[in-house]
Subunit: 215 residues, 2 copies
């Protein structure tokens, strides 16, 4: 098996998939996409994912999967153990609800292409863009915190990592990067602290990727 | 069974769930949330979904489901027939990829709360906001069109409606509303034309909801 994950070290969506692959014990080759340089808009990457977004996962037969949630669901269906969704439908709905808060309500507003639009097309300052990001992160975490407090244990839903954590932990990284403190979110902060100790999450951290640029 | 769908006639995400419920043949009561008046931010609705977003689906035992994709997945798991996901994992991944392009890459940038932020916090004109929406719809449809052309039949994936169509058709409504023509997207336009003839989609159309405001 030689899967290739097209990833960018700091981007939230590929980070989710790295966590999922690590949780499942799936090895993969790492293909770096430099989002600052604009690799995602170049023909070489468009040949992999015409949408020009990361992640994409190339399988042995060159089939390409894209969209992080679709990849995580596919992974759960094809590599069932250890499960990253609970068994009962209502529980699965809660995990997917948590994942959706991050993947549909926070992150889409905060990624590179949106920042480019706000700055290049609307002429907003970097400061305005950071305020914008912090606004959506806070609004999303406000929604997520009571759900995690109610349904969480060691992780966002119960005691084992799920797709909710695959989404949450990269968003916590984003929150810290942009200066959204976790003090109002003790349940989220607790999950993040435990995830940091978990090898699958630790190995997926941006700083540990081959394309990491650290000071 | 007396489920209640908390919905707003024109909003994209509850429209998805209306289609899914109709496809499955599930009857439901309709609870209108007036997004213009701001019902979604009032305590009565916050008691249903603290996040203040539509849709929410209240079940017989008062359990509340939220996040449209989570609701559709739950529906597929609990009311399996007729299926709204194909059987094979790679096919399911493609349907979820298509759904993700709408639900993660287009719609989150175009909803009421984002429009409010751009206009109230950033002081942008309605014209700027419409240009913004058209930009993201076009970018998403550019990505979706070749996938539908390749994998679609009567619907986005094959000949039967899937979760991809539950997401796509409301986005086509949004595209028409904001003036994004479908001429560059013949595969999407074909699916939309066939969906308009399908009773589950027709009954879910905004104009046919109890809270519709038509001229």
């Amino acid at each position: 098996m030689t899967w290739t994950l097209h990833s960018a070290w700091r981007a939230g969506a590929p980070y989710r998939v790295r966590i999922g692959l690590n949780l499942k014990g799936c090895a993969y080759d790492y293909a770096a996409v430099d989002l600052i340089r604009g690799d995602q808009r170049e023909p070489a990457y468009r040949a992999v994912n015409p949408q020009g977004l990361t992640p994409a996962l190339t399988l042995d037969d060159r089939t390409v999967l894209a969209q992080s949630l679709a990849i995580l669901e596919w992974l759960e269906e094809t590599v069932p153990e250890p499960a990253i969704l609970p068994a009962a439908p209502l529980d699965r709905a809660m995990v997917r609800r948590m994942a959706g808060i991050v993947a549909c309500d926070i992150h889409p507003l905060n990624n590179t292409r949106v920042g480019r639009y706000l700055q290049l097309e609307m002429g907003r300052s970097q400061e305005d863009y950071v305020a914008w990001m912090k606004h959506w992160i806070a609004e999303g975490f406000d929604a997520l915190e009571p759900l995690v407090a109610r349904h969480g244990g060691r992780f966002s839903f119960g005691d084992r990592p799920t797709i909710a954590d695959c989404c949450l932990i990269p968003q916590v990284y984003g929150a810290e990067r942009w200066g959204v403190g976790l003090a109002p979110y003790p349940a989220i902060a607790g999950v993040a602290a435990r995830a940091a100790e978990h090898p699958a999450f630790a190995a997926a951290h941006p700083d540990r990727q081959p394309d990491a640029v650290t000071a």
